[in-house]
């Protein structure tokens, strides 16, 4: 988990990317960026987030965003990048989402009631 700085302009974005690059380029990275303190996010910051998520997904990992401030949410929505990330209310939930991938995902999308879903034969 990494907390993003209050102002994410071009200079800060470069610095932040240099900071997280070892983790982004690691094997199957599972990263959470905490945006709770972000007050200013500009196009360079958004570009940096996209670069991070592209690198992470290339390596079969995932990048999730946690507790975005109102200002960060506004910019993410304005630039249409909110739909590219999984966004969680807090960092704990975001971190937990990595561990509970399959069962939770199946529960949420199953059209059957829970008991019926358990009785379904498992695919080979």
């Amino acid at each position: 988990m990494k907390r993003m700085p209050e102002r994410v302009n071009r200079h800060e974005a470069q610095r932040f990317f240099a900071d997280v690059q070892p983790f982004v380029t690691s094997d199957r990275p599972q990263l959470v960026f905490d945006l709770s303190q972000v007050k200013q996010l500009d196009a360079a910051g958004v570009e940096m987030l996209l670069r991070c998520v592209a690198e992470v997904m290339k390596r079969d990992g995932d990048l999730k965003l946690a507790s975005p401030s109102r200002q960060a949410s506004m910019v993410l929505e304005l630039t249409r990048t909110d739909r590219l990330f999984e966004i969680y209310a807090n960092s704990t939930e975001a971190a937990r989402s990595f561990s509970g991938f399959l069962p939770n995902a199946m529960q949420s999308i199953s059209p059957y009631p829970k008991r019926a879903a358990e009785e379904l034969p498992m695919a080979a």
């Binding site: 988990m1 990494k2 302009n9 070892p22 983790f23 380029t25 690691s26 094997d27 200013q40 500009d42 196009a43 360079a44 290339k58 390596r59 079969d60 109102r70 200002q71 949410s73 506004m74 910019v75 929505e77 304005l78 630039t79 249409r80």
Partner: protein, 399 residues
């Protein structure tokens, strides 16, 4: 001079107060310290479908036969040039002096022979029926008549010119108390209290849906779509009714303007941007490929109604201000063109060369296909998971 049902010519004048907060706040609070402003400008001065609310209120008063309108403004921020309505007496005063100045103005009007004086604080946009209101005031023999609607009292009063003590009491108490209680006039007209930016958006939408008497300043291009003079809208722009495109606005290719959006004069929407249920204030620039939803943009700021937050944008590629002067607009466009042409030439020259280099040579008989490239793992840049990397990751996670 107006004629009322009492078959007498009456001298009716009006004082419009601007720049102090209203019902929900302490009445001495300047608008800038309340929610009734955007980027330092009172909401009543911001344009709604081409004209500020202040203009519309003044026009309504004049249409109803009010002889003169005095505007007392306590707004500290510099107001935009087009906020001064024509044919009114405008007076800037300090916010601490507004009530004193209004009292003096009332005395002045009464001394000049005004029989009835309307005192309106903006504030609320209220389509009060002026003739029935004045008739009610005369019939009830009130000293002061306050207008109320279904949601409560409004800062809209009729004062008899001869009742200076009652007027002084009312104004000294910041429109909060009257000396002699009297029956209020209940209006059935449209009222919007304009206390927040959401109220401003609601007023825009209600006007587009013709729930108010506000008429968009422009020509109805299609049912529900109004376009002002000299607006430039490119061919593949989608305009979904109801919406308003103000004069001298520029909407570039691939944009979508929908769900009651309003682009005020001289605003620019760049290519591929969606504007949904939002307002662009005059001289605003909205960058390319953006998605503006339930927001108000102006003066380098964006206010989101959904998130109830306001953000000053430093990045000029997202939101910026268009120069108010046509000279500086031309200079800006020219400088952009000058920087654009070499960039395109450079991209074209080197872009094509790159394609030529990768083209297979038919004479060599080789297909140019390298099977090792397919077999190459995608994660070439992947670092090996050495103990030092794992240790670093753990350290990082513990931060």
């Amino acid at each position: 001079m107006r004629y009322c049902a009492a078959v007498a010519a009456m001298d009716v004048r009006a004082i419009v107060l601007l720049g102090l907060a209203g019902e929900g706040n302490d009445r001495a609070t300047p608008v800038l310290d309340s929610s009734e402003n955007f980027a330092g400008t009172p909401l009543a001065v911001l344009p709604v479908l081409g004209q500020p609310v202040l203009h519309r209120v003044v026009d309504r008063l004049k249409c109803a036969g009010v002889d003169s309108v005095s505007v007392l403004s306590a707004a500290r921020a510099p107001l935009v040039d087009d906020c001064y309505p024509p044919g009114v007496k405008w007076q800037n005063v300090a916010d601490t002096q507004l009530w004193r100045a209004s009292e003096e103005e009332f005395d002045h009007l009464a001394h000049d022979g005004a029989e009835l004086v309307l005192v309106v604080r903006l504030g609320a946009y209220a389509e009060v029926e002026i003739d029935p209101l004045l008739q009610f005031h005369l019939d009830q023999r009130n000293h002061i008549t306050q207008v109320v609607d279904a949601d409560g009292p409004l800062d809209f009063f009729v004062l008899s010119g001869s009742r200076r003590n009652d007027a002084a009491f009312l104004l000294r108490n910041k429109l909060g108390k009257v000396r002699v209680q009297s029956r209020s006039f209940v209006t059935s007209g449209y009222v919007n209290r304009l206390q927040t930016l959401a109220d401003l958006r609601r007023l825009t939408l209600d006007s587009l849906l013709q729930k108010t008497s506000i008429q968009p300043q422009g020509e109805q291009f299609r049912p529900g779509v109004w376009v002002g003079q000299a607006a430039k809208i490119e061919g593949d722009v989608r305009l979904v009714a109801p919406c308003y495109i103000g004069p001298f606005t520029r909407v570039r290719s691939g944009s979508l303007i929908t769900r009651g959006s309003s682009l005020e004069h001289h605003s620019v929407v760049d290519c591929g941007t969606v504007v949904e249920a939002s307002t662009l204030l005059p001289f605003s620039y909205l960058g390319a490929g953006l998605d503006l939803v339930h927001s108000i943009v102006g003066s380098n700021r964006i206010a989101s109604l959904k998130h109830a937050a306001e953000l000053e944008m430093e990045d000029k590629t997202l939101v910026s201000v268009v120069p108010a002067s046509s000279f500086w607009r031309t200079v800006r466009d020219a400088s952009r063109l000058v920087s654009f042409v070499p960039h395109q030439m450079f991209a074209k020259l080197f872009g094509e060369r790159k394609i030529k280099e990768t083209r297979p040579c038919p004479e060599s008989g080789e297909s140019g296909f390298d099977p090792r490239a397919v077999a190459r793992p995608v994660t070439q840049e992947r670092q090996p998971l050495t103990p030092s990397v794992v240790t670093r990751m753990r350290e990082y996670g513990n931060q």
